[in-house]
């Protein structure tokens, strides 16, 4: 009996202390917190958290593992479960704003003095009606990933005396493919000389096909896939440049230089590259570590070069990125706390000791994980920030920059932001056109794109033209 009484008293005390011992600190949930199995990343975040909470004891950082996806964000937002800050893609903020899922942070950014330091192109992407709704983490440009060993094996590139690959001839001209015709030529060599391989992987599903195709269309001479004319948005998916790009895919398929698989998405490019099923792939500059971390692809066996041109003149690199956005239910104080935490993560334009230490910790962690450390496309345009960030980057770069130089030297001239309206939905329709070309040898590129164009105009652009 006495035992029972003691147990009851203990439970009661526990309940009372749980109810009464409230923590009145401001809770800031961080949606990009890494999963527990990523021990090195978690360690890094814990260190940033510790530093932050020491300087700002009024805040309580709450880990929240949330990977954004369009289907989970609706449920999360409705249930008021969105973290205070989370990552998304550059194509998403407009939809999130329209549905009331994220909030305006203009005042907070201006108070911190970060607003004017932001990369102007990124700021525009994250803005609506003169208000800004996010902070860019970093950007990416689309380019061409090359398996150097395979290209060397078929005689496209050469080797230096020290065993490194030579990507330019003696006059400095690239030996790697710089046009879509070159890609076709190199693919022929790959297919002829290496069993069960293709030259390049062409994505066609999960909106990833359309995403990469839009860049291909620009490089075949299409200025824009959406045109603003007489106060209205018009779909331009069947522009002659886009048709030529789709015809190029069709020719590649007819000549069996690419797979007929019509369900390839972004996970597949690094699977195919990692398992040496293809020699080339289009991908973002922020994803170069994926074959390394997932398939142990050797750091010295790949290069990343600018997107090829289709018409000999148009050279664009689709420019996107990852922004941090803030839940519509977050208070001003929570937003301010989350923004300050970004500084402790080294993701702000600040260049004081705290930021520099945080950036260094990021590089050291990447180094320990064996990830390739390469230049990044910066979110902030402030000269002081750029100087410090570039200096740090140079210190930690662990790849042969000869293999990446051309891309990073030209990205600022080549970069072109994604199309402005219903971008993901447009990509889904372009996916269908690519799938049709891959699966049906008799499909007509012009008519496939005309169908996609009509659907995009009717189902999407007509909504904003009302």
């Amino acid at each position: 009996m006495r035992k029972l009484l003691v147990i009851i008293l203990l439970v009661a005390c526990g309940l009372l202390s749980a109810c009464g011992g409230g923590d009145d600190r401001i809770k800031v949930s961080i949606g990009m917190w890494p999963e527990e199995i990523l021990t090195k990343d978690v360690e890094m975040f814990r260190s940033w958290e510790e530093n932050f909470e020491k300087d700002y004891p009024q805040y309580d950082i709450v880990p929240d593992h949330y990977t954004y996806s369009p289907d989970t964000v609706i449920a999360k937002a409705t249930a008021n479960q969105l973290p205070v800050v989370f990552q998304t893609y550059f194509t998403e903020p407009k939809k999130l704003i329209a549905n009331g899922f994220i909030r305006d942070i203009t005042a907070e950014l201006q108070e911190l003095g970060w607003y004017d330091k932001m990369d102007p192109m990124m700021r525009e992407t994250l803005s609506a009606d003169g208000k800004i709704y996010g902070v860019p983490r970093d950007g990416y440009g689309l380019g061409l990933f090359l398996n150097l060993e395979m290209l060397y094996d078929v005689g496209v590139i050469e080797k230096n005396s020290d065993g490194t690959y030579r990507l330019h001839d003696d006059s400095g001209n690239p030996l790697y493919p710089t046009t879509f015709d070159d890609i076709r030529r190199v693919s022929e060599l790959i297919v002829e000389n290496i069993d069960y391989t293709y030259g390049i992987v062409i994505l066609s599903a999960n909106k990833n096909g359309g995403w990469q195709f839009s860049n291909m269309a620009w490089n075949f001479g299409c200025k824009n896939l959406q045109v603003y004319r007489d106060g209205k948005w018009e779909a331009n998916l069947n522009d002659p440049g886009a048709v030529r790009a789709l015809e190029w895919i069709q020719t590649m398929r007819q000549e069996e230089l690419i797979s007929s698989d019509a369900s390839l998405s972004y996970n597949d490019w690094y699977l195919k590259i990692g398992s040496k099923q293809v020699a080339m792939a289009f991908c973002g500059s922020d994803a170069l570590s994926l074959p390394v971390t997932n398939y142990n692809f050797p750091l010295d066996q790949f290069a990343f070069v600018p997107m090829p041109t289709g018409d000999g003149e148009s050279r664009y690199s689709l420019y996107g990125g990852t922004p941090y956005v803030f839940s519509a239910n977050a208070t001003d104080e929570q937003v301010k706390g989350a923004l300050l935490f970004l500084k402790y993560m080294g993701r702000s334009p600040e260049v004081d000791d705290i930021s520099v230490d945080a950036m260094e910790l990021g590089f050291k962690t990447a180094q320990e994980k064996g990830m390739p450390i390469l230049p990044t496309i910066k979110a902030w345009a402030d000269p002081d920030y750029l100087e410090v960030a570039n200096e740090l980057e140079e210190k930690y770069i662990n790849v042969n920059m000869d293999y990446f130089k051309d891309f990073f030297d030209t990205i600022n001239e080549m970069k072109k932001p994604e199309e402005p309206n219903y971008c993901q939905d447009m990509y889904a329709l372009l996916d269908n056109a690519i799938q049709s070309i891959l699966s049906n040898p008799n499909a007509v590129a012009q008519s496939e794109l005309t169908t996609a164009n009509a659907q995009f105009q009717k189902n999407f652009l007509s909504k904003i033209n009302k």
Binding site: P70, D71, I74, A75, A77, T78, K95, A98, N99, G100, F101, D195, Y196, Y198, S204, A205, N206, S259, S260, D261, A262, S263, S265, Q277, Q424, D425, A428, D431, N432, A433, Q435, S436, L438, S439, N440, E448, Q455, K458, N459
Partner: protein, 312 residues
């Protein structure tokens, strides 16, 4: 012995008596059912009604922000993808009857005929049902890889056939998805048929044998009449489940190539992803109506006796 008389005469017609009697009789039952009812209300009925409301509303996120009348339905009917999805859903139904309906019946009959290792065969046939549906879909999508170096294409090449595009061939996509679903589900259905078959008395087979019935006639005049109620029930369940086909095309093809395998439920999910909740809800309502109508038609057609009895 003294008879004890009731001190008060009970009025059995009074409402208080009836309520007390009702409570005494049913209260326990209702109390037991209450948690289940609460869960049903919360997880089934509320979302169901909320879905119907959303389909007639303008939405912001998941909130209804104004009455839209039939606007969402009109917009769904005008969407070319809806027509594709509707046609595809009937294609799924067609192929599921061709491939998926008869295989479990055949398996059930074969299992009932097996004398040795019956347990082994039962387990073997049921085994794919244990595997998670998502894992099955992923596994088969790897097997159906259209590349020349992939498993099935290598097998085809060794047998002297041409490489196949498998899921990338729009004509093969739906039959192959149905094949995958059948591979996973046939075993469980076959066991239901097997249990029905085991209820058939041996004496009926013996009587048929004495009457000179051969194997086929025994199947026709003894086995099938007994199996018929199970066949009818499982047919309806199959129609309902095939109309709800979703994750197999989502994982294996994403609805492609070019919408060749998109189903109504996948279309509803696509609208949801585009944050067009009201259109997503409208597709779900349309799908429910189609299933209800088909079920009623089927029940009417398959129960002629009931209709005749009513007419009499």
């Amino acid at each position: 012995m003294e008879n004890s008389l009731p001190s008060k005469i009970i009025d059995r017609t009074s409402s208080s008596y009836k309520i007390k009697k009702f409570l005494r009789k049913n209260l326990g039952g209702w109390l037991i059912m209450l948690p289940g009812l609460a869960l049903f209300t919360f997880f089934v009925w509320k979302p169901l009604f909320q879905n119907i409301i959303l389909s007639f509303s303008h939405t912001m996120g998941m909130k209804a922000v104004g009455f839209a009348g039939f606007e969402n339905y009109k917009s769904v009917f005008q969407d070319v993808f809806f027509i594709d999805a509707l046609v595809n859903t009937f294609k799924y139904l067609f192929w599921s009857i061709i491939i998926g309906f008869f295989i479990p019946i055949i398996l059930g009959i074969l299992l009932s005929e097996v004398v040795h290792f019956r347990g082994f065969f039962r387990l073997g046939i049921y085994f794919p049902s244990i595997v998670s549906g998502m894992a099955v879909a992923i596994m088969w999508s790897y097997l159906f890889d259209p590349n020349p170096g992939a498993v099935l294409n290598q097998l085809l090449a060794r047998l002297g056939f041409k490489y196949s595009g498998f899921l990338s061939n729009p004509k093969l996509t739906i039959p192959l998805i149905i094949l995958t679903m059948t591979w996973r589900g046939a075993g469980a259905t076959a066991l239901i048929y097997l249990s029905s078959l085991q209820n058939i008395s041996n004496s009926q087979y013996e009587a048929a044998r004495i009457d000179g019935a051969n194997w086929f006639n025994r199947l026709r005049f003894v086995t099938f009449p007994h199996l018929m109620p199970t066949i009818k029930l499982l047919f309806i369940l199959q129609v309902i489940s095939v109309f709800q086909v979703f994750y197999e095309p989502m994982v294996m093809t994403g609805g492609g190539p070019n919408g060749a395998s998109v189903s109504l439920l996948l279309l509803s999910y696509n609208y949801y992803q585009q944050m067009e909740l009201s259109k997503s809800a409208a597709v779900a309502v349309i799908l429910s109506l189609i299933i209800i109508v088909l079920t009623v038609i089927y029940l009417r057609l398959s129960n002629p006796n009931k209709r005749e009895a009513k007419n009499v």
